[in-house]
Structures are given as C-alpha cells and as structure tokens.
Symmetry: C2
Subunit: 474 residues, 2 copies
C-alpha cells in the first residue's frame, strides 16, 4: 500500500481547458433555449454538496431526449471539450465540478417513467427522475424502489455513483438493483447493456461497468431497475444505547445471526442533539439505532423479538415502536434531517463527509477509534451510519475560511480511511471517488488495478471528454 | 436486431496459431513435471461438455501458485501464444477449446481455502476448488455457499462464466456473490479487485467486469465469495402437475407474490421418465416442480402453505415432502442426474443445451411454444429449468454423426433464442457465450455494445492471448 501524500487528499487540481467559442455557438444553434451561458445557471451547475470551490462550466445544456445527449457528445467530441452529466446536484465528492472546464449536461428534464412491468418487478426510467418521484409514480402498483441514499438524488446519479444508503442491508445497492442501461458513448453512439432478464451470462457485464463509473465512461440515458412488493408488514423502532459501542455490537450480532433487517442506522449522541434542536423531536440524547423490519406479520415479529433480545444484552432498552406510516416518518425524520441539522448547528460551516465501509466484524474497531480521535481534535462533527453494511459517515463541520480546520478534518479522514483499509474495508461505501478519494483509491486497490481502470477509460474515451479528472488523474 | 445467419450459430471457426517450440521448451524448463505435452493430457484438456470437436492445446501447464500463473502469462505474452484457463472441465459452451491453439493453464491444483471469515460471512479460495469441496471444508462454520450449477464446477470457472443454477432465485448468482478477486493480467501482472467490504463505490467495478469474462480478460487466481448461515429450517417438496403450463404458472405466481423460495426447479415428463430409468426413483412421470424453502420454522411453514395454495389452483396436488437431509437428497437426485440420465437414454448421443432466460411474466410464452416446436421436430430432448429465475434448458439429444440432427437442433435453439430475445430475455442465463452464442450475443445486445466489449478486450489483452475466439470474434 503506497502511502499517499497529504496533498493527494486535499484540494483538487484545477486545469480548465479552453472551451471553443465555436462549440458554444454550435450548441446554441442546435439547442436554442435549452443551452444557457447565464452566470447564475452556470454557477448553479458548478457546485455540489462537496466543500470544493471550482469555476463553473462554460455552458449548460438541458437535454430532453437521448438524441439531445448524443448530439452534445458528438459536438463535444468534435471540439474535444469535457462534458459533465448533471442530475440533482447532490454529489458529496465533487463529481459535478468542472475541474477541466467544459459543458454541464443537465438531464433533470429527462425524468419520465418509460415503462412499468409490475409483473416482473421492474421499471425503466429516464436518468433525471428522483427516487421520491419514482416511488410516487409507482405507488399504485403495490411495489417500491428501496434504495434511499438520504438526499432525493436522481436515479441516473445514483447509478453513476453506485449509491445505496438505508435499506441496502436488505435490498442491496445500485450494483444489485440495476438490470439494464441505455448509455451514450464518448463518440455519441447509443448502446444498450443488459436485458430485463433477472440474470444473464451474455458477455462482459457492461451494466456493472457503467454503474459507479461516475460519468467517465458514458452518459446514462435509460435505467431499468428492480422493484419489490411493498412488505405485508413494516415495523420501525428507535432504541437508545448507553454507548456507541453498545449500539454497534448490537448491530454486528444482528447481522451475524442473519436477521433480514431492512434498515439499521446509527445516530450518535451529538447528532441526536443537533436533530432535536433542528426538528424538535425530543429524542433521548444518547447514541441510538433506528431499525426497520419488513416481511409477513409473523416474520416481522420474529425479527423484532430477536433484535430486542440482542439489544438488551448490550443495555439498549428504551425501544420506541412505530407501526403507522406517520409514526415511522417521524422516527425517520431524525435520520433524514441529520445532515441539514448538523450543517445548521454551525452557521457558515461546510461538512466534509467520510464514507468508509468495513467488514461487519471490524466495524467496532474502525468506528470507535475514529470517534476518540475526532473528539480529541475539537472539530465539531456528526456521525451517522448504515451500520448493518459496515458503512458509516463522519461529517466534519469546518469553517471553510480556515485552512487549518480543513487540514485537521482531512487528517482525521486520512487516519480513518487508512484504518478502514487495514481492516479490509473500502475508502467509499457509497459516495464515490470523485475528486476527493483518488489517492485513497490507489491505497485501496493498488496501482495495478487503477492502471487497468485508466486503460479502460482511455479505450472508451480516447479524447478524455467524459467527466475528466474524476476517479483517477488522467 | 440484425438477424444472424444460421452458420453463425453452428460449428466454431478453428484457426489454430502455431505454438513456438521455444515456448514449449521455456515452459518445460520453468515448470518441469508441471508441464505436459502427453497426448492423453492434451486431449483431456481439449474437450468439455459441449458438442464441438477441436484439436487439443499444444501443452498443459498445471499451475500451483499465482506466481506460476504469472510466469505462464509472461511467457505466453512474449511468444504471443493463447492461454486457456482450465478448472473442472464442465463448460457446456466450448470455453475450454483451443480454437486458436495455445496452452491449457490447468488451475485444478490451486484448490485451497485461503481464509474463512465466518463472522463476516466470507471465504477466500483458490480458483480450482469445486463448490462441493468448498462446502465440505466450511461445514463446521454453520455457513454454506449456495450457488449450485448442477455440475461440481470449480469456483474459478463459475466466476468466469457468471454461473448460477438452483438457489439463485433466493441467493443470487456469482455476480451478486463474488466480493473480490485476484487476477493475473495478459502481461503477467497480479492485481486485486474489491475488498471484503459488503459494498463499495471505489472506482470501476473490475470485479464484476472479470465475473463472466470467460477467461478473456485475465486469469482468476483468488476469489472472495459470500457465505450464508445454514437455514434454521429447510423443507423440500416435489409436486406433480397435469401440464408443463400448470407448473410454470404456479412458479410465476409464487415469484410475483414475493415468496422467498430458495429453489424451484421444473422437470418435464420426458426427463422424469429418463431419471426414473437411470436412478429407479419411481417418480410420477408428469411435469414436476422441485421446491425448497429456507428460513425460520414459521417462515418455512408460511412459504410452503402459500405455494401449496397456488399449486392447487393449477391442479398440482401430489406434494411429496422431505425434511431430513436424506429425503432431500433423494428428491434432488432427480434434478442432479437429469443431464446424465438424458445422455444415457440415447447411447452415443451428444446433448446440445439451450440456456435462455426471460422476465418471469414471459416464461410461459417462451417455454410452451418451444416445447411444441421441439415435440414436432422428433429430436429427443430433456427439459429442466431454474424457472423461478425465468431460466430453463432444453437438451437436444443428437447423434453427433448426423449433421441433419445437429442442423435441426441448432434451428430449434435459434427459434428459441429469437423468441426469448423478443420477450426481453437473454440468450444465456448462466452457461456463457463461449463459442456457441457469439451471433446471439450480437442479436441480444447490439453491435455497439459488442464493439465496446471488443474495445475493452483489445485494451486489456493487446496480443489477444487470453482465451481468444470466445464471446466475440477477434
């Protein structure tokens, strides 16, 4: 494992290529009102939820069809100019930032459900639809799309970053739930990967290659995903624990016993305090687990009983149960507001989010040492985790004007990732590499594997126009 | 969909490159007894379960370490000579055949369990270990590896073909169950893909790219797979039906209701007759479903009751239950012996196996028309299916000396695949493309996607030495 230099994990390298005026003219000629160079529009497409400051793209094209996307890529290829796909703008790792300049390709208007196949538990959508909108539109089928990264991200963006979040512990991530894609290549050709068959051995798994490629191998224009029957019974509970360790040990044992729990989320006492202040929830300001059980009434009952037994062994007693959708929503408010509650707790701050994921047996080792380090640093933070998957997030709440705070936060993240890798984990469970984790990617997988990724990138995007400067330097 | 010419789906193109004597000498110098050019050894490595006749490889190297594999590839690269990885030899699609000549790289001696992480439900193995050997070696942990393609295939081969089989309906395929790999590249470099973390967004999914690449992108030398707790309760049943349609409709409704059935296998009346003759099982010679339920005692009971209700709606009543391992083994004998029973039913015959998989709602349409066609053809056949996944296999039992029978069988397969693709399915659910489905792959995914696969192949294997002539012509 080649130790990265601290700078590899700090500010991104910005090296914006000149965007030819002729390309802007060609885009305006082709797209008219769909192409904007207005400062406000460019700036809105030049930032995401990361803490980086990068000059905005030269123009924004609002694609409405696959043909629009193909034409943008043909023109961008002709003028060798970068294209950055834009969905909901909720990236946490700088995926949307124009570090090499170029055009933002906004697909948010491509937000239709194209076909629902309820009898096969699949739906095909355009990339701009968000997960909440999707679930709204399929409500009448009695099916749902489980993947919930917290933000109301676009399905295209979730595919591009291999997103997961709550529910993944039972239903898997985008890796397991995307069946097929339509993709526009760097040269503007439209290809299809996969079919609606549940499984296939037909050639290279281009679907999984595109899932998680962060816009660097193609622009996703259609996505077929799996749906699931709404569970017959759903039951949710909050349980407070005397310590983070008690909550984590409860989670580890639940997973190791094979309880098919649908959600198990950790929120530490700091974060509970922030959420109480933000949303007046009046929760006990102790570390807590938010749990949800799906299944038949009897299996939900079985699961809940097993977990209650485990929790009580570790001193977790105060179970608060919610069975109606309204009560569940109230409990989940705590989890879904954590990020915003935390950012509001320190006006003007930026959150630097970590995203390690380790084998479940290593979760306590990885998490507890990092809590101690972070407490000692004096940097305010929040801590939430999809702990059933061994995945958790510190959010370091830094003053963006204070380089020392950023240095401290990055140093904490560096220690955390190094620890996670030593414990056979990954530097990013669900946020992606983006600009922020390039050095860590090399630490994790080795130079040889990253060279293989580069070779694939060069072969599929010889002019390096697809979201360049992300995942690895090129 | 460009219609393929019939010949695209017939005998493979054989174009064996000259293997330089200097390479053979170098291999013998490096490997001594581990390198054999004996006719019998070459012939044993020059055939698989497919019906093709191809001259054997020029030599066989028995690798015992990753370093052995790396040295073979460095030498093969130096002499630009094909290398064909060999595990258990159970391929059905000609994956092992030396259509462009070269060296067989036998990894069957690399059959160790390298590390068991019971608390994380993972195990890391060498590629030559077979699935039965693996389950034998982890028995004491209370965990099991569910993927069961029928044959006692090697884990390396199952990874390379993205295998699945029975149990996939509940536990997924190799795509979902391989966490990480060690791979030797065409140039002899050793890379690692993935970690033991359950999920990751760290860069391109090289693991999934290698899974199903049929030995054309690298040689797999280590595999980390998921394990599952042995279910608390297991219950298996055979149910006979008045017609194939009744059995299929029962399956479709079971899946659509979201019953987490572990196995649901169709065996048609022809095949039951063959199995009775072969193994004296005395089963009712009617279409039957073999089912298995895993879970807690109550959930197994729930599942079984639901399926019995559905089955009786379709006239399936004669349920024969098995709860002890011995009784279960007896029932599963029918399924596991189907292939051999069928081949023995026509002495000297070769089985040409089909492998389509369609969305579950299309299963009846796809299967029943093909049954009618095949009955009309007069070619004897067997029919089994992992019908819970929409995947089934006809085995056309042809006289290999009679080109007309092969033509007829290939024509039936051609009709079947064309139908499956029209129904949004795939030409291969689990066997892989190999030599036999190259034309169908183009029909299924389109020339653009296959060109992308070729581009990746050329980039990662510029000398085209890794199992060349498989998946697509190159």
């Amino acid at each position: 494992m080649n130790a990265p230099t601290a700078t590899q994990h700090l500010l991104p390298e910005i090296n914006q290529r000149e965007v030819p005026a002729a390309l802007i003219e060609a885009l305006k000629a082709r797209f008219g009102e769909q192409c904007s160079t207005a400062q406000a529009v460019r700036e809105q497409h030049g930032r995401d939820e990361s803490s980086f400051e990068v000059p905005p793209p030269a123009a924004v094209v609002f694609a409405e069809t696959t043909a629009d996307v193909a034409d943008v890529l043909r023109l961008a290829s002709q003028y060798e100019t970068p294209v950055i796909p834009f969905g909901a703008g909720s990236s946490l790792e700088g995926h949307l930032l124009a570090v090499q300049g170029g055009i933002s390709l906004d697909v948010s208007r491509m937000n239709q459900v194209l076909s629902i196949n309820a009898e096969d538990l699949t739906v095909t959508v355009q990339p701009g639809i968000t997960r909440k909108q999707l679930n709204e539109e399929i409500k009448s089928t009695g099916l749902f799309f489980p993947i919930d990264p917290g933000a109301d991200a676009s399905i295209g963006g979730m595919t591009a970053t291999r997103a997961s979040g709550t529910n993944a512990v039972r239903y898997g991530t985008m890796r397991e739930n995307v069946l097929a894609l339509e993709v526009v290549t760097a040269s503007g050709d439209v290809i299809r990967t996969g079919t609606r068959a549940k499984k296939s051995s037909a050639g290279y798994d281009l679907t999984r290659l595109m899932v998680g490629s962060e816009g660097t191998l193609g622009v996703i224009t259609e996505i077929t995903v799996r749906l699931y029957p709404l569970p017959e019974a759903v039951s949710a509970a909050i349980c407070s624990f005397p310590s983070i360790e008690a909550a984590v040990r409860t989670t580890i044992q639940t997973i190791q016993l094979g309880v098919p729990i649908a959600r198990v989320e950790l929120i530490d006492h700091n974060t509970v305090r922030m959420v109480n202040a933000y949303a007046k929830l009046g929760l006990r300001e102790e570390p807590l687990l938010l749990m949800e059980f799906h299944g038949s009434p009897t299996s939900v009952k079985e699961q809940a009983e097993t977990v209650q037994e485990i929790a009580s062994e570790f001193g977790g007693n105060a179970f608060e149960w919610a069975s109606t959708p309204e009560e569940r929503t109230r409990l989940w408010t705590a989890r879904h507001n954590a990020y915003f509650a935390a950012v509001q707790s320190r006006p003007g701050c930026k959150a630097i989010s970590t995203d390690t994921c380790v084998p479940i047996s290593r979760l306590a080792d990885c998490l507890l040492d990092s809590v101690a380090e972070t407490d000692a640093s004096g940097i305010p933070y929040f801590l939430v985790g999809h702990v059933g998957d061994g995945n958790f997030h510190f959010g370091y709440l830094i003053n963006p004007e204070d380089p020392k705070e950023r240095e401290t936060a990055e140093a904490l993240n560096h220690k955390l990732v190094t620890r996670a890798l030593e414990l056979e984990g990954t530097c990013t469970g669900e946020h992606g590499v983006g600009l922020h984790k390039m050095g860590f990617l090399v630490d994790e997988t080795g130079a040889g594997a990253v060279d293989m990724m580069r070779t694939i990138k060069r072969a599929l995007d010889p002019k390096n126009i697809l979201n360049p400067g992300k995942i690895f330097a090129l």
